[in-house]
C-alpha cells in the first residue's frame, strides 16, 4: 500500500483528533504566503470557519462582508473576473445553501475560478441543530456544470485540498466539518484531486466514503477482516468522479456499500450509483442521512441516533452483506 497513515491510526484513542476546518484554515494561511493573488472572503463567521488564520496574516487581502452570503458570492465573482483567486469561507448551509442561485449565475455558468471552503457540514455540526447541519451541499454543488466537489477525510487532507484547489479551473467546493475527527493521514500522504484512494484492498465488498466516515470504514474493515475482505475507498473528490478506480474495484468485489454524513439523496452514494448503474450495475447500499432533518445534540449522540458512527455503519453494512 502506497499510502502513509498516521502511527497507530486504527486505534482511536491513540490517533490525534482535530477538525478539518482547522486544516482548511491553516492551509489557506500557508497558501497565501506564496499566492499573492489569493483573496479570502469572510461572512461574520471568520473565527469559527477558520478564515481568521489568513485574515490575521494578510488583512489587506481579507474582505469581511458581514452577514451577507449572497453579496459574498457576487463579490467573489467580481474578484475572479479581475484575476484574483477568491476563497469564500463560511458554514456550508450559508455558503452553498443560502446563495445557491447567485453561485449558479455569477460563478458556475461563467466558469469562474472561485474556491468555496465550508465548515459545519453534516450532522457533525452538532448542537446548533438542523438549521446549521448542512446535509444537502454535495447534492446542490455537484449538479452544477463545471463544479469540482471535494470532501476531505481529515485535517491533513483538508489542508492539502485548499492548496490543490488553487491550481484548478472553475468553481471548487471543499466540504469541511466542525467537529474534531481522527487525523489518520499525514502531511506526506499523497493527495490528488479527482483520484480516489484505495486505502485498503479487499475482494468481497467495496466500501466507499468521504469525510470522517472513511475512518470508520477502515476500522470496520479491520474488525471484520477474519469474516470478510473489505476494500476501502476514500472518494475525497466526488466530482469529477474517479470512475476508473470505482469500476475496477466493483468488477472485483461485485458489491458496493457507500457511507457519508450527507443526505442519501444526491450525495456521494448517488454519484457512485449513477455511474455504476450505467457501467456495471451491482447490488448497492447507500448509507447516510436518510432524507430527514436531524436535531440538536452532541455529535456523538447524533452519530449514534442517526447511525453514522462506526457501530451504526457496521450494522447497516452487515445487513446489506447478509442480503446480497
Amino acid at each position: 500500500m502506497n499510502y502513509y497513515f498516521a502511527k497507530h491510526y486504527l486505534n482511536e484513542t491513540k490517533v490525534e483528533w482535530k477538525p478539518m476546518r482547522d486544516g482548511a484554515g491553516i492551509g489557506m494561511a500557508e497558501l497565501g504566503e506564496t499566492k499573492k493573488d489569493m483573496v479570502v472572503l469572510g461572512a461574520d463567521t471568520t473565527e469559527s470557519s477558520r478564515a481568521h488564520y489568513f485574515a490575521q496574516k494578510f488583512p489587506e487581502r481579507f474582505i469581511q462582508v458581514g452577514v451577507a452570503e449572497q453579496n459574498m458570492i457576487g463579490i467573489a465573482a467580481g474578484l475572479s473576473y479581475q484575476g484574483k483567486v477568491p476563497y469564500a469561507v463560511t458554514y456550508a448551509a450559508f455558503l452553498i445553501g443560502r446563495p445557491w442561485e447567485p453561485i449558479r449565475t455569477t460563478i458556475a455558468y461563467p466558469e469562474r475560478h472561485v474556491v468555496f471552503v465550508s465548515s459545519h457540514a453534516g450532522l457533525a455540526t452538532g448542537p446548533d441543530g438542523p438549521t446549521h447541519q448542512m446535509t444537502e451541499d454535495i447534492a446542490i454543488t455537484r449538479c452544477l456544470p463545471g463544479f469540482t466537489v471535494i470532501a476531505p477525510c481529515d485535517f491533513e487532507q483538508a489542508r492539502k485540498a485548499v492548496k490543490a484547489a488553487y491550481s484548478l479551473k472553475g468553481p471548487v467546493y471543499i466540504r469541511n466539518c466542525r467537529e474534531k475527527t481522527p487525523v489518520f493521514t499525514t502531511d506526506k500522504t499523497p493527495f490528488e484531486v479527482g483520484k480516489a484512494q484505495i486505502l485498503r484492498e479487499g475482494k468481497d465488498v467495496t466500501v466507499i466514503g468521504h469525510g470522517y466516515m472513511v475512518y470508520w470504514l477502515l476500522q470496520i474493515a479491520e474488525e471484520l477482516k477474519k469474516k470478510i475482505s473489505i476494500e476501502v475507498i476514500n472518494l475525497h473528490t466526488i466530482k469529477p468522479l474517479d470512475g476508473k478506480t470505482i469500476l475496477q474495484s466493483t468488477k472485483k468485489t461485485k458489491r458496493v456499500f457507500c457511507a457519508e454524513d450527507h443526505n442519501v439523496i444526491g450525495g456521494m452514494g448517488s454519484a457512485v450509483a449513477e455511474f455504476l448503474s450505467e457501467t456495471y450495475p451491482v447490488p448497492m447500499k447507500l448509507h447516510g442521512v436518510y432524507d430527514t432533518f436531524a436535531e440538536s445534540g452532541s455529535v456523538k449522540d447524533l452519530w449514534k441516533k442517526y447511525g453514522l458512527d462506526k457501530e451504526g455503519t457496521k450494522k447497516v453494512l452487515l445487513e446489506f452483506l447478509k442480503k446480497v
Binding site: V39, G74, I75, S80, Y81, Y109
Partner: protein, 293 residues
Amino acid sequence: MQKQYSLKELEKKANEIRQDIIKMLVVAGSGHSAGPLGMADIFTALYFKVLRHDPKRPNWKERDRLILSNGHICPVRYTAMAHAGYFSKNWLSTFRTIGSKLEGHPSFKKISALETTSGPLGEGLSEACGFALAAKIDKATYHIWCLLSDGEHQEGMTWEAAMLASKYRLNNLTCIIDRNNIQIDGYTEDIMPLEPLREKYEAFGWHVIDMNGHDIQEIISTLEEAKAVAEKPVCIIAHTIPGKGVSFMEKDYKWHGVPPGTDIPGEPPKAEQAKIALRELRTLQGKIESELD
C-alpha cells in the same frame, strides 16, 4: 484614439441604436422593449464618449469596466457594442437564436467584453464591488460602472452590496439606476415602492446625483462628475422614460418584457407596431418631415 463625437452625432447615434433595437426584437420575436429604448441615450454616452475602452482590445487591462446588472436590457448593450465596433452589426439579427453569441441574457462565456453574466436580478452591484475591490488591491486607475434597474432594488442582495461599497469607500465605483418606474407586473410604486430612493442611497453612505437620462449633454457631465467624487461611491439616479422614442410604448409597463409584434389590447395592431415604431424614431415622432415616407 477614440473618435470625438459632437452632441448632434451622439443624438443621431442614440436614434440609430433605438431603430436597431426595434429591428432585432422583431427578428427575435421575443425580448424586452421598454428598458432598452429607455437606456439608449445613456449607453450612447457611455460607449461613444465616457468609457475608457477600445473595442479592438476588449481585454485591455486599463479599460473601464461596465457591468450590466439588469441583463434583460441587453438589446441596447449589444446594439451599442456593435455600433462601437466590438462585433459585426450582422450579429444583431441572430439575437436569442441557437448558436448565436447574443444570448437572451448576457453571457460572459459568449462575449468576454460583456464583463459578466447577468439576468437574474440584484447580483450586478455585488459583482461590481468585487471588481472595484480588486482594482483597489491592484491600485488601478480605471473606473467601474454598474448599470441597474430600479425594480431590482427589491432584491435584498443589492442593498448588501450598497452597504459594502460604502464600508470600503469604493470611490472607483459608480452605479447608474434606470429609474423608469416600471417592472413586469406594473409600476414600481404599486408593486413594491422604492421611494425615497435618493434618501435610501444617501443613508447607505453614497453620493447621489439625479440625472435626466435622455439629455446626452447632462448624461456626459454627470458621469464625469461622478468620476471626480473622491470620498464615496456614487449613485446616479437616471430618470428615464421606458420605451422612449416610440409613443405607444412610452411609460407603459406592458412593454417591459415583450417585443414589437405582440397582441396587447389598446395598442396598435401587432403587424403595424414595428413599422410605426421605426417611423416614429426616424421622424422623431413626426418632427422631421423630410424623413416621412
